[in-house]
């Protein structure tokens, strides 16, 4: 009977407490109250073990999401910044290479948004995933349009690309607002992203080149800082080395 009751507990629990628990059961006669109490205790131990495993799995998922998002944000920002420099005409590099970096950077930012949204969505899932959807749709439209424009040519592709970029910019603005509100990641980076989303419109209205440059700098720096902070958050808070 005693062995059977102890077997109701999970193996990990038995390994830790099994011996001493068995010695207690040996020291006193078991009544119906004790049997019921032990069965409830076994149920509690199993539920706690399941919750802890779920926490570990969930924690690993968020950690992975944060790491992938952070690395992709940094690489995406660097890739887009390089594409920008190379495409500026200051360097004797083929446009196709700059175009490749542009597409690569946009693709990486898409991965970054997915990863960081997976982390932020714990706090505000609706707004987080809405921002992701806008950004993803806009970026994919822009990527397809840029490839179409580069390979087939035609104003239609450029117009489609502009539409995609506009959607992506609105998505970035919403993503920046969500990031600021949830405060799960850097608020400073969120403000830079917001500035990078609003300044292009100011640049279009005023026709000032400096505003376009400022928008690009804010946009790229915002993603880069978000990536850095995501990777920093992913590290353990305490030093795991023994004292």
């Amino acid at each position: 009977m005693r062995t059977l009751l102890i077997r109701c507990y999970p193996a990990a629990w038995r390994e830790r407490y099994g011996d001493e628990f068995a010695s207690i059961l040996d020291e006193r006669p078991l009544g119906p109250f004790d049997v019921a109490d032990i069965l409830l205790g076994a149920l509690d131990a199993r539920l706690r073990l399941r919750d802890r495993r779920a926490d570990v799995i969930e924690g690993k998922g968020f950690s992975m999401s944060l790491r992938i998002g952070g690395i992709a944000a940094i690489l995406g920002a660097v890739s887009l910044a390089t594409a920008w420099f190379l495409g500026s005409g200051l360097f004797a590099v083929a446009d196709t290479f700059a175009g490749f970096l542009l597409l690569l950077g946009l693709g990486l930012l898409l991965v970054a948004v997915a990863g960081l949204t997976g982390f932020q969505a714990r706090t505000d899932p609706v707004a987080s995933w809405a921002a992701f959807a806008l950004l993803a749709v806009g970026t994919i439209i822009a990527m397809v349009a840029f490839v179409g424009a580069a390979t087939l040519g035609g104003d239609g592709y450029w117009n489609l690309g502009t539409l995609g970029l506009l959607i992506a910019i609105f998505g970035t603005l919403l993503f920046a607002i969500v990031t600021y509100q949830t405060a799960a990641l850097s608020r400073g980076a969120a403000l830079l992203l917001a500035a990078g989303s609003v300044l292009p419109f100011a640049a279009m209205v005023s026709n000032l080149m400096i505003l376009t440059v400022a928008a690009l700098v804010c946009f790229l720096l915002g993603w880069f800082l978000l990536g850095v902070q995501a990777i920093r958050l992913d590290r353990p808070a305490t030093d795991p080395r023994p004292a």
Binding site: F21, L25, E27, R28, D37, I38, G41
Partner: protein, 107 residues
């Protein structure tokens, strides 16, 4: 009154009784059970005892010592002692408040 260890749920009261039992020195499981039963007049089941012990140990309020035969003694940690003091102060203030509302003067 704010519960000090709210996540302990139905094991909050047994945990408090265990902390009090360990406050005068280390004890193994069976000694805690008999001590609590003597102090409260109510039996503490082995399932409840170990569910509470596991939670207290996880929170660093008690620590396990080297087993003697198959009996493993537990002792109160500094965290556990501080938590127990806080809980007892809270209960004491609550009791004074209740007595005052009833119009019962303290001896």
């Amino acid at each position: 009154m704010e519960p000090t260890i709210p996540e302990f749920g139905r094991f909050a009261e047994p945990s408090l009784l265990i902390l009090v039992s360990l406050s005068d020195g280390p004890k193994h499981g069976y000694a805690i059970m008999t001590d609590v039963e003597q102090a409260t007049g109510r039996p503490l089941g082995p399932g409840t005892l170990y569910a509470a012990l596991a939670r207290l140990e996880e929170r660093g309020m008690i620590e396990a010592l080297t087993p003697v035969d198959r009996r493993r003694p537990y002792r109160l940690t500094a965290v556990g002692a501080a938590n127990l003091t806080e809980q007892l102060h809270g209960l004491s203030a609550f009791a004074r408040h209740g007595l005052k509302q009833l119009g019962v003067t303290e001896p």
